[in-house]
């Protein structure tokens, strides 16, 4: 027993002192957490996303639409609306452009990722609406993966608000025209009546009767970039580091230090156990450091500390076991190194460490759940988003431990002592 402890302790201390541990176990995953977190929307209080507007119409109605858009989009400061070529630019969006170059400027800004989308109010917008026609507003967005549905929702809301008012005004004026025509409709100021009804409706819209009162389950975390990237990167890098144990084991076999341990008067299983425990503790140290690093970036791990600890313990065990299994398959340390990168970098996106599995098709969810990554992410998700208890994550922990047993069994069965 003492042999196991000695070997494990020595193994752990030596690994922790290596520069690579700091670089690949902490610095790189923390940097990726930060960058991916920001890229996927950061935390709730991230910078506003800029959306440009080109008003080609310049009518009262187009101005009303810009106002409605501004009201909707800037309400929770998620977006900032910039009027291209306008004199009275909002802070931070003074975009000067001659009227005939506005499209070019806006396209350039989109391409350079200075803005996220352009809303184009075409000439004839106001006149068309007054004539009772259907008009089209164009929303150009950058062709990117994370173009948010949120922006479109806000635009839709603004369009419905103005559209509703215009439709009611048009209907009212049309009915009035038909009903009162005999009485000298020509003397009647149609446009004034339209504007009056529209404005009344727009004002009344604020007190519209049917409203959606929404409430999220978020007693704890919400879907922010960091809440995805935090557990995701921790899980990915612990997996890569633990798979890389195979490189260490195969390398020690190559240079003979492993054989030297096996000729000691200690049962082989104890030597192997000591090694594995050392690597496991090493993985736990990395995972713990990454959880802390995530916390400083604003990852909301939740307050179920025993639950978090259990996930860390179970997941690291599975990853360690997979590393041991890999060590029996690889012939050379170079091969082990390549295989651990191969598995680490493919299992992670499959299992949802890069993006939530929610957004992938069903069969990809199924494939994802063949990896320990998905079960680890699910368990974290349960704690973070659903206020899960230890009982709630028990199934995931069970699967992780089952996988660990499977990998260990394979590894010990196939391990070459010679």
């Amino acid at each position: 027993m003492r042999a196991i402890i000695t070997i494990a302790r020595y193994d752990l201390l030596r690994s922790l002192r290596e520069r690579e541990t700091f670089l690949f176990g902490l610095l790189m995953p923390a940097a990726m957490m930060l960058l991916l977190g920001i890229a996927m929307g950061g935390s709730d209080d991230g910078d506003a996303i800029t959306v440009d507007v080109i008003d080609e119409d310049g009518s009262a109605l187009s101005a009303a639409l810009v106002e409605a858009l501004r009201a909707e989009m800037e309400a929770d400061r998620a977006f900032r609306l910039c009027l291209v070529g306008a004199d009275d630019a909002a802070p931070g969006c003074a975009i000067s452009a001659a009227p005939d170059r506005r499209h070019q400027v806006a396209d350039e800004r989109l391409k350079e990722a200075d803005s996220f989308g352009t809303i184009l109010i075409p000439a004839g917008f106001g006149a068309g609406l007054r004539a009772g026609d259907t008009v089209t507003v164009i929303y150009k967005s950058s062709a990117d993966l994370n173009a948010p549905l949120l922006a479109e929702q806000k635009i839709d809301a603004a369009l419905s608000r103005l559209g509703g008012a215009v439709a009611i005004a048009n209907l009212t004026v049309k009915v009035a025209e038909e009903a009162f025509q005999r009485r000298g409709a020509s003397a009647w100021d149609r446009a004034a009546a339209f504007d009056q009804v529209r404005q009344t409706v727009e004002t009344a819209w604020d007190t519209r009767p049917i409203r959606v009162e929404s409430q999220g389950t978020a007693t704890r975390a919400s879907r922010t970039g960091f809440n995805q990237s935090g557990p995701g990167m921790a899980i990915m890098f612990v997996l890569i580091m633990m798979l890389n144990n195979s490189t260490v084991l195969v390398y020690e076999r190559e240079v003979g230090t492993l054989q030297r341990l096996f000729v000691l008067p200690v049962p082989r299983w104890q030597t192997l156990a000591g090694k594995i425990i050392g690597r496991y503790l090493y993985g736990l140290a990395i995972f713990a450091a990454l959880v802390l690093a995530g916390t400083t970036m604003g990852v909301e791990w939740g307050d179920n500390v025993p639950g978090i600890a259990l996930i860390v313990l179970a997941y690291t065990l599975t990853a360690t076991a997979l590393g041991v299994a890999l060590a029996t398959v690889a012939r050379t340390s170079a091969q082990a190194n390549n295989l651990s990168l191969l598995f680490g970098l493919t299992l992670s996106p499959l299992g949802g460490a890069w993006w939530p599995l929610e957004i992938v098709p069903d069969f990809m969810k199924l494939i994802g759940h063949l990896t320990p990554v998905a079960w680890g992410m699910d368990a974290f998700g349960k704690l973070m988003y659903y206020g899960g208890t230890v009982a709630d994550i028990a199934p995931m922990l069970g699967v992780l431990l089952g996988l660990a047993a499977l990998f260990f069994a394979f590894g010990v069965w196939r391990f070459r002592y010679e």
Binding site: D47, Y139, Q153, L159, A179, W188, V212, T346, V360
Partner: protein
């Protein structure tokens, strides 16, 4: 001299591709990752969502209108999520049924519990039996409760978008009923119409108001920035980003072996033959360059084949061959130069390998190899533009989508060339200073 340069370059290429294990990392891994990303984000390019599971609780008992007809706005709302089985009535909502998988629940609390345990994305509830009446009367709000799962990013947004479209229509109808008659009366008065005419007009308005629920007069057309219908094809983005990432890994590892040649004494040995130092350096750089080009070509062919097997219709790399060739040649040059500088600065070959993989990874992240970096803080938007990944990925993406041809990616080529020249000059300078010792 040229035959010696060729011999060194060829040796380099041979050693790299002879190593079967390295091929995992050079070719298999990036192809696999591109394939996974392609599968995750569908073959057509759109994010393919499964139907969002949603519960609808409608306790509204409806209202009998003055004309004797009965109206149940709650039931109308429910039909947007749950088909009633009457084709005529369900017709307007048909397109929505693909988006959601709605189930009728009797008990809001039960549905809430299902949301909390993650089985439902959202529960929509109208719990007031007098809901229609309240909504029509105005004055007091008629709320719809939406309880959604904050743990999901997209599902609740879909539900909210549908709800808002439906409720906006309903509100238009209701506001028309409330405001229209008053407005009509005013207009009628101004025109001197009599009570009967106004009453008749009001009745007409009420009758036609229902049409307002149908569609807003303002339509939104969604385009991508080039003015086409928006499709973000993940594979067109990620196949080049993975290829560039792993190519720059390989170039870093390749450059590290220049240091290995110093340590394993093959460089001194070459220098003891009638071969000048510059011939060795040019040979090695050419070897790395050829390795990178071969790797990119293999990756392009392999991902295109995988995409074909996956049944994709979109081309992953586009059809602009001159553009592709020139971009591959330029991006590999930039990556070789990066590897060279890192290898020159490192203490020894091992450190060079480690550092170059970190540098490639970090530049890959910044340059958008893992996820397009869009919403960086304003002060940092210049950062990705310093990376070869940024210019390379965008160049390939523009070629793949057919937005640009060779002439259109000239800025990308120029940026890559500039990055390459700067890094290469610095790398050679540092190497030159290392000549002895």
């Amino acid at each position: 001299m040229f035959s010696k340069i060729a011999a060194i370059a060829w040796k380099d290429l041979y050693v790299t591709f002879k190593d079967r294990d390295a091929l995992i990392y050079l070719i298999a891994l990036p192809v696999l990752l591109s394939g996974i990303i392609g599968l995750a984000f569908g073959t057509s390019g759109d994010v393919q969502l499964d139907a969002v599971p949603v519960a609808v609780i409608n306790q509204d008992q409806g209202e009998t209108l003055p004309d004797g007809a009965s109206l149940n706005l709650g039931a109308e709302l429910q039909r947007a999520f749950v088909p009633s089985g009457d084709p005529a009535q369900d017709e307007p909502y048909r397109a929505l049924y693909d988006l959601t998988d709605g189930k009728v629940y009797a008990d809001f609390n039960q549905a809430r519990a299902r949301v909390e345990d993650g089985n439902l994305a959202a529960a929509i509830a109208i719990t007031d039996p007098q809901w229609t009446a309240k909504a029509l009367a105005g004055g007091s709000p008629a709320p719809i409760a939406l309880y959604y799962d904050s743990g999901r990013s997209i599902g609740p947004s879909v539900v909210r978008a549908i709800l808002s479209a439906i409720t906006n229509g309903m509100n238009s109808v209701i506001l028309a009923q409330q405001i229209g008659p008053t407005a009509l009366a005013q207009i009628g008065d101004a025109l001197g119409a009599d009570e009967a005419a106004i009453a008749q007009a009001t009745a007409q308005l009420r009758a036609q108001a229902m049409t307002l629920a149908e569609a807003s007069p303002i339509r939104l057309e969604r385009l991508d920035w080039q003015g086409k219908r928006r499709v973000f094809d993940a594979m067109q983005y990620f196949a080049p980003s993975m290829a560039i990432l792993f190519m720059s890994f390989a170039m870093g590892a390749g450059a590290a072996t220049i240091r290995t040649e110093m340590q394993q004494w093959t460089l001194p040995r070459i220098l003891s033959t009638p071969t000048p130092r510059w011939v060795f350096m040019v040979g090695r750089l050419l070897g790395m360059y050829m390795t990178g080009v071969v790797q990119m070509v293999l990756l392009i062919v392999a991902t295109a084949l995988v995409a074909r097997l996956m049944g994709r219709e979109n081309s992953v790399w586009g059809g602009d061959l001159p553009g592709l060739v020139v971009l591959v040649l330029t991006v590999v040059f930039a990556a070789v130069s990066l590897g060279l500088l890192v290898a020159a600065l490192a203490r020894d070959a091992d450190q060079a390998t480690t550092y170059s993989s970190i540098v490639s990874m970090v530049l890959g992240m910044l340059g958008g190899s893992f996820i397009p970096i869009e919403n960086l803080p304003d002060a940092l938007t210049w950062l990705p533009k310093l990376t070869l990944n940024y210019w390379g990925i965008r160049g390939f993406f523009d070629l793949a989508t057919g937005e640009e041809t060779l002439t259109g990616i000239v800025p990308n080529l120029a940026a890559l060339l500039a990055i390459g020249v700067v890094l290469c000059t610095a790398g050679l300078w540092v190497f030159a200073r290392r000549q002895e010792v």
